[in-house]
Amino acid sequence: MSGLNALWQAILVLVGGGAIGFLYKGLDRKLAARLQGRIGPPLRQPVLDVVKLLLKENVVPRTAVPWLFQAAPFLAFVAAVTALLYLPVGSLSPVLHSYGDLVLLLYLLAIPALAMAVGGFASGSPYAVVGAQREIVMMMSYEFPLAIAAVGIAWRLSTLGIGPSFSLATIAANPLWGLVGPLGWIGLFLLFVALLVVTPAELSKIPFDIPEAETEIAGGLLVEYSGVNLALFYLADVIKTLVIAGLVVALFIPYGIAAPLGIAGIGGKILDILFFLVKLFAVIFVAVTVIRVAFARLKVDQVAKLYLLPTTLISLAGLLLLVLDKVVMGG
């Protein structure tokens, strides 16, 4: 792949990703409102929110460590946006498929939450520090089941002689559902459930929005952020939502629609991209919109318990079933 070609692809993915991210954010808010019997904001509201934030004052509190407080939004933004280029889109390999794998993507996904926590600690506000501490507790609770789900799939692929097994292009091109036996199928389903449960926490959405908890700690780790710094965190959240949904799709539902319909060429690729966007929306709707409407906010110990016990056990059971599947099916 030539450098110029990669650059064009990267620009296309970043611009397209940004536009789709805003659209899905708007849809999420609209549908959540409809589920609650409200009319909801217009679809363009997320864009208007960012424009409004650009017009607001960008205050740095007296108690803050200024450079760290200002750097945190940039760190979140850079990590979320760069992660987009390591994701497969439809039947297309990731733009940087040769330069980063699933482990890199998991690290990049962790950085925005860490950056928010760092920004919260750096602000010196008690509310922000409480929110940042909650974010760290939540991360330490859900990262283990997330890692098990990702590593389990890569490990099973490697046992089948398919590699490089941590490459997202490889994972997306070789859906495990058709390669494993019944035990592996159940194991994969459990890992899928675990990842869906982790998704809203990765995005700090209700019922896992304890780091922000507006009604309790007034926005928590973001309480001191305003103006363009808050806008950068907002943009990072828009993109990260796409990335985590894209990861779920790549790991568990990477199927295209063009091949079964017998459509090849550029038309097939476009159809696969459209189908990929539908799958992204379905994941966001199920794991974010419906969940945040259906549940009330959990307490920090309830979140820790949920991820450290049942979710971890579900993911470990999924991994164990994949191991047993390897023993039974061989290879």
Binding site: L54, F74, L96, S125, P126, V130, L232, D301, L308
Partner: protein, 108 residues
């Protein structure tokens, strides 16, 4: 340069170049925003629901572990019972876990 382990790989240089490009985009957005505020006024005070933040006040780092401790209280209580205070017991646990780990690695 690409760092690989056989199954996993990444290129720090490509990511760094990409990160610089995205940082430039972020900075361009940042420049579009309003960067001024009224320095040295009440605006700089951290929000505390209308209260003034006493000098030196803060949230202790030990609070970080409250969520964990509360969530895992039943487990921690049981684990606490194993703490006999005898060094021999701790070395025994270490040996048992080492043997289990070695067995897992060998069988795997």
């Amino acid at each position: 340069m690409r760092i690989g382990s056989g199954e996993g790989f990444w290129s720090p240089i490509v990511w760094a170049i990409l990160a610089l490009g995205v940082l430039a985009i972020g900075f361009a957005i940042w420049l579009q925003g309003r960067r001024t505020y009224k320095r040295g006024t009440e605006q700089e005070e951290p929000f505390l629901s209308g209260e003034r933040l006493p000098e030196g006040a803060g949230v202790g780092a030990t609070h970080l572990y409250w969520g964990f401790a509360e969530a895992l209280k039943p487990l921690l209580m049981r684990l606490g019972a194993f703490h006999s205070g005898f060094l021999g017991d701790y070395v025994g646990w270490l040996l048992v876990l080492l043997v289990i780990s070695i067995l897992v690695v060998m069988l795997g």
